[in-house]
């Protein structure tokens, strides 16, 4: 919605506007009406004076016109015209409209376009003149109503008025009225300004106090300087600031208390975390040691026994060959061959088991070679093509770190084979002496997953725990149909063992 123009005004401006708007309207109306009324008054007064003058002159001119004493009438009219500046000219004409007297003013500046005319009537008064009209001649008072006598018009008086003199007078009056109205307007403006100021000053101080409160300074000093709603507002702001200050103090105390609790909890958590890391590391170490011992047992005991069993079975076969032919002999041959084959299979299984429990290639080839060997192993048995990249000297890598790195890569590649359905995978091992960090990155172009929604499997959890135990970091970058990149950073210096 479009904002109206006054909506951005301050309350002081609005107050002045509200106060002054009716005053200005009143002033404008008054000035307009005054000017109009003065003009109308001049016109009305001129018309009235013109009519009255014409009629009065017509009344008084009767005798002069009838008696022919026009010089006397001229003197009278001349005195009248010269003494009244609003008279422009007075004409007296006879019954035939022939001019008898015309007197113009020496002072009047302009004339109205019309004149006011009054007939000079020959007044007839009814008196019983004892004429021979039939009715009795009674000299005593008569109660009879005198008959109406028609008046004969013996001439006309025409008065032309001049408005300039009266206009000047009315203009001076209008100027006085205008000055008074302007003074009233100015006084109204000053009053409006004072009224607005009586609102804006306490409001400004209130707004300032509110800004202080908004800025966090609750200890504001806002004296109540006025009454009414503004005073109540000031009082409320003062009370609010006091309450807020008390609340702030309370909260700060509570926060400090909670902070202390949190710090303690954090320290405990950190301590627990370190213990957990060490515990995981120890568990991993124990697991690896146990695996190694199991692998050695399998390698040294089980596999040796299987070799011995195979040799015995082969000996049985050789003996059967020498024993000649017969169904029993043939059956013995078959059984010995089956035992030989079975021992070979068991031996191979044992070998695989040993390799899984304890990748001896790690001891022999180091992390670099073991990973390369593992990739070759996966590359041969899956539809995915593996690429390997390595940088750095891995010979000085600690055994614990190497085993964890190996197991992490092993889990990552296992996930690629099992879940990614990728056609291509890359493994990168970078050992940065400058950063004192081993960086591992396994990337594939497989199906990927949403790290935000997908729940972690056992493999990933194991990877996280191994990384966590080594105080490293692991990140997963993946998305649906955009492959997966697993980046691991492991510090070269392993945490101290748990005692």
């Amino acid at each position: 919605m479009k904002a109206r123009f006054w909506e951005s005004w301050s309350i002081g401006t609005r107050m002045i506007f509200i106060t002054m708007l009716p005053v200005v309207f009143l002033f404008s109306s008054f000035v307009w009406y005054s000017w109009y009324s003065h003009r109308a008054q001049v016109a009305e007064e001129l018309a009235e004076r013109g009519r009255i003058l014409a009629r009065a002159l017509a009344e008084t001119s009767e005798y002069n016109v009838i008696s022919g004493n026009l010089s006397d009438l001229r003197l009278t009219i001349n005195g009248l015209v010269q003494s009244d500046k609003s008279i422009y000219r007075i004409d007296v004409v006879d019954a035939a409209h022939k001019g008898a007297i015309s007197v113009s003013s020496q002072f009047a500046a302009d004339a109205e376009p019309h004149y006011y005319e009054a007939p000079i009537k020959k007044q007839v008064i009814w008196v019983n003149l004892f004429s021979d009209n039939g009715s009795p001649h009674v000299s005593g008072p008569s109660d009879a109503k005198p008959p109406t006598q028609p008046a004969e018009v013996v001439g006309w008086v025409r008065v032309t008025m001049s408005p300039s003199n009266m206009l000047d007078k009315q203009a001076r009056r209008f100027q006085v009225e205008l000055a008074m109205a302007a003074l009233a307007l100015a006084v109204s403006g000053a009053l409006a300004w004072f009224l607005a100021r009586s609102l804006t000053v306490p409001l400004r101080s209130s707004i300032g106090a509110l800004r202080q409160i908004r800025g966090g300074d609750y200890r504001v000093q806002l004296p109540v300087t006025t009454g009414g709603e503004i005073g109540e507002l000031q009082e409320s702001i003062g009370e609010m600031s006091l309450a807020l200050d008390q609340s702030k103090q309370h909260l700060e105390n509570k926060v400090a208390e909670r902070t202390r609790d949190l710090v303690e909890s954090r320290n405990e958590a950190l301590k627990a975390d370190a213990d957990k890391r060490k515990l995981i590391q120890k568990v991993n170490s124990i697991v690896e040691d146990e695996r190694r011992s199991i692998a050695i047992e399998i390698h040294d005991e089980l596999n040796a026994s299987l070799i011995a069993a195979r040799l015995e079975s082969q000996s049985i076969l050789q003996l059967a060959d020498k024993a000649g032919a017969g169904p029993a002999i043939e059956q013995i041959k078959h059984k010995s061959q089956a035992i030989t084959k079975l021992t070979l299979d068991l031996y191979a299984s044992g070998r695989r088991l040993v390799r899984r429990l304890r990748p001896e290639v790690l001891d022999m080839l180091g992390l670099h070679g073991a990973v390369e060997e593992m990739m070759r192993h996966y590359d041969s048995g899956s539809g995915c093509r593996f690429e390997f990249h390595s940088e750095g000297d891995f010979s000085q890598l600690e055994n614990e770190l190497a085993i964890s790195a190996y197991r992490i890569v092993q889990e990552a590649l296992s996930n690629v084979i099992k879940h990614a359905t990728a056609t291509r995978a890359q493994v990168s091992l970078v050992l940065s002496s400058a950063e004192n960090m081993l960086r591992i990155e396994v990337a594939d172009d497989g199906a990927g997953f949403d790290p935000g929604t997908a729940s972690a499997g056992i493999g990933i959890i194991g990877m996280r725990e191994r990384v966590y135990a080594l105080n490293g970091t692991i990140t997963f970058s993946s998305g649906p149909d955009s492959g997966t990149v697993v980046a691991i950073a492991l510090p070269l210096k392993a945490p101290t063992d748990v005692s």
Binding site: I66, V124, W126, N128, F130, H137, S139, G140, A144
Partner: protein, 297 residues
């Protein structure tokens, strides 16, 4: 109109008829008063009724032989009635009342000598002598009085001779010029004269005299109310009383009194005009009057 006048006359005669049988056994003593009116206005009725009351007691006093021959006495009320009876062929006595002297003289001049000899009148306008006396009472000093008379005012000229400046006005003369001529006089004594005073110029005359600071002594109360200074005037009862006296004298003596101005009068003064003329009207002027003797009703 004439028929109306006759009907009125006969009607009034009928009113008087019961008076005739007052002496039915003596025909010499019998007579009839015949009040003739010119109109049927309320004023005329009032005049006639009052006059009837006044003339009724006179019916038994008519005794002379001349009176036996002239059995009818016409009382003409107003100029129209006067003209009516003046044109009648009988030689009955005619007493004119409520008619100005100018009209009466005009009618009498037009009548036959015999007819004129049997005519007399109580004029309607105030007596000039009373008016002049009123002037003296108003001004309380000798003042010059002027009167304007027309062509028919010869009889008044004789009356006014020596007591007022008479200015004659011929037909066609401008009244303003005449008024200018009498401007030096302080008082204008107005007398009824159709050749001088008319409805059209009476206001002008009053204005002119006012401007000349002249007091106008009018000839009726209405004229004083219109702007004249003062006048003596006679009410209907005043004139009727004088008519009755004249009739009684005629019945008693058989001699017809000559025409005369009103004997009984009152005075009316326009106080406003008097003030403007700087005249302080005294009580004697205001009370200037002559009342008729009380008549038993």
């Amino acid at each position: 109109v004439r028929a109306l006048r006759c009907i009125a006359a006969l009607g009034l005669a009928a009113l008087l008829a019961p008076a005739a049988p007052a002496a039915p056994a003596d025909p010499v003593r019998g007579f009839r008063f015949h009040i003739v009116t010119g109109d049927d206005s309320a004023q005329t009725r009032r005049i006639a009724e009052d006059l009837y009351k006044r003339l009724a007691p006179l019916s038994a006093m008519f005794r002379t032989e001349l009176a036996q021959r002239r059995r009818l006495v016409y009382i003409a009320i107003g100029p129209a009635a006067l003209r009516d009876v003046a044109h009648r062929s009988d030689d009955c006595v005619v007493i004119s009342a409520f008619t100005s002297s100018q009209v009466w003289h005009a009618v009498a001049a037009a009548a036959t000598p015999a007819r004129a000899a049997a005519m007399t009148a109580v004029y309607a306008e105030p007596a000039p002598a009373d008016q002049l006396r009123l002037v003296a009472l108003l001004y309380r000093r000798p003042v010059s009085v002027a009167a304007i008379l027309g062509a028919d005012g010869a009889h008044l000229k004789r009356v006014l001779r020596g007591s007022a400046q008479v200015e004659e006005m011929a037909p066609g003369d401008d009244i303003n010029r005449v008024l200018n001529r009498i401007a030096p006089n302080e008082v204008l004594l107005a007398m009824p004269d159709s050749g001088v005073y008319s409805a059209e110029n009476v206001r002008n005359i009053l204005l002119s005299t006012y401007r000349h600071k002249q007091g106008v002594i009018g000839f009726s109360a209405d004229m004083v109310k219109a702007g004249a200074l003062a006048t003596t005037y006679s009410d209907i009862e005043d004139i009727n009383a004088q008519v009755a006296e004249m009739a009684a004298a005629f019945v008693a003596s058989g001699e017809l009194a000559p025409p005369q101005f009103p004997r009984y009068f009152s005075t009316i003064v326009n106080e406003g005009v008097a003030r403007s003329l700087d005249i302080e009207v005294g009580a004697d002027a205001k009370k200037f009057a002559r009342r008729p003797p009380a008549t038993p009703r």
